[in-house]
């Protein structure tokens, strides 16, 4: 289960970073909204990554310049980061004790 999640996160990241398909403004908006939603969930788990926000900012900059291919790719990358942070927070609920001095 864990491995599956990780693989899909990694796949999503690669997809986001290398997507060759032409994307329009709607694709960008959908990708951005999905990334924001995931980042909001990370916030509720008290575990946002700074890189999610900075990657979202990059996406927005590309979109403002009219490059929706790159904007969409960045938004997808931001979503992958946010999802990884959610995964981290969730699995740490158990795993933090690994490091405990006892």
């Amino acid at each position: 289960m864990r491995i599956t999640t990780l693989t899909s996160i990694a796949a999503l990241l690669l997809l986001g970073a290398t997507s060759a398909l032409a994307a329009g403004e709607d694709d960008y908006k959908a990708a951005y909204a999905a990334a924001e939603a995931a980042n909001k969930q990370a916030a509720s788990l008290r575990n946002q990554w700074t890189t999610t926000a900075s990657t979202l900012a990059v996406a927005k900059k590309f979109a403002d310049g009219g490059d929706f291919d790159k904007a969409t790719a960045s938004a997808k990358e931001a979503e992958a980061l946010a999802k990884a942070s959610i995964f981290q927070a969730t699995s740490e609920k158990e795993r933090w004790r690994d490091l405990e001095i006892r």
Partner: protein, 287 residues
């Protein structure tokens, strides 16, 4: 892998770093036992650094390195926190508009009591840090709260620490389920990996004290809050406990929480408790 290598590794490939999660799950939770924790925590550091005396740990990175220790002794001749200390002393004794002072909010007029903070407030059911108590004192007397990360708060806590120098940490975790939960949550926060680099506080301050991160030598977690607040050359000024905690979170590419959020209050409670008996050494000065 040493710390620097781990940072580069994590920075280069967070997806790979996450694969570590596929390892077997941690041992399950058992009973909250602060007394046993404190013993194990101290033993870990005393065994790891057999040459150090317990009270050496309160000087952060200076305890880790002989050259640095020499620098520290030189620095204490003309301490860079002197200015803050003077300011704090003045602020502390100057009455609010209503004629009351900070001293009226604290036991023993606020003198020599830093080692008792954080305390657990049984009425509220929460941990109260010294920084929080100071702002509550201001608000109760009709004054606006200070920023938790700026100079005024650093000055006030510097003065209060100074009046308590040498006094051993005396943190109490009462036998109240809420206090035990706050303590345990603080411990969990300390050991929880976070941020894109997937580091916990313990990755740096338990597994790697004495190692260098860029130009800095990592302080050991034992006694790590005894010297707060601290002057740092890199900040070109003073930093409160809140400032230090939020900075440590951003370093690992985690978005810091708001100063004095429950997690930060609880982790300070935990770190102070396991350092019980070690002397207050604040304010401190760092390279």
């Amino acid at each position: 892998m040493n710390l620097r290598a781990r940072i580069q590794f994590a920075a280069a490939a967070f997806a790979l770093a996450l694969l570590a999660f596929a390892a077997p799950p941690a041992v399950s939770a058992d009973k909250v036992d602060p007394v046993a924790d404190e013993k194990a925590f101290k033993k870990f550091f005393y065994d790891k650094f057999p040459k150090l005396k317990p009270e050496d740990f309160v000087n952060g990175p200076y305890s880790m390195d002989a050259d640095l220790y020499k620098q520290w002794q030189d620095k204490e001749q003309f301490p860079p926190y002197e200015f803050s200390l003077e300011l704090g002393k003045e602020m502390f004794s100057k009455p609010f508009k209503n004629g009351k002072t900070y001293g009226d909010c604290f036991p023993n007029k606020g003198i020599g009591i830093r080692q008792d903070y954080p305390t657990f407030d049984e009425k509220e059911g929460k941990v109260i840090t010294l920084e929080l108590a100071l702002n509550r004192c201001r608000e109760a007397n009709g004054e606006p709260a200070f920023s938790y990360v700026r100079d005024e708060m650093a000055a006030l806590t510097a003065y209060m620490a100074f009046t308590s120098r040498g006094k051993p940490f005396n943190i109490k975790v009462p036998n109240d389920p809420r206090a035990l939960a706050a303590y345990e949550n603080g411990k969990e926060y300390f050991y929880t990996r976070r941020g894109q680099l997937n580091f916990s506080c313990a990755t740096c301050h338990v597994q790697s004290p004495g190692e260098r991160v860029r130009t800095e030598v990592l302080a050991p977690a034992l006694g790590i809050v005894n010297a707060m607040p601290i002057y740092r050359s890199e900040w070109n000024g003073m930093g409160t406990t809140s400032r230090r905690f939020t900075t440590c979170n951003s370093q690992i590419r985690g978005v810091p929480l708001t100063p004095q959020d429950d997690e930060y209050r609880n982790v300070e409670y935990y770190l102070s408790y396991v350092s019980n008996g070690l002397p207050i050494s604040g304010p401190g000065a760092r390279p």
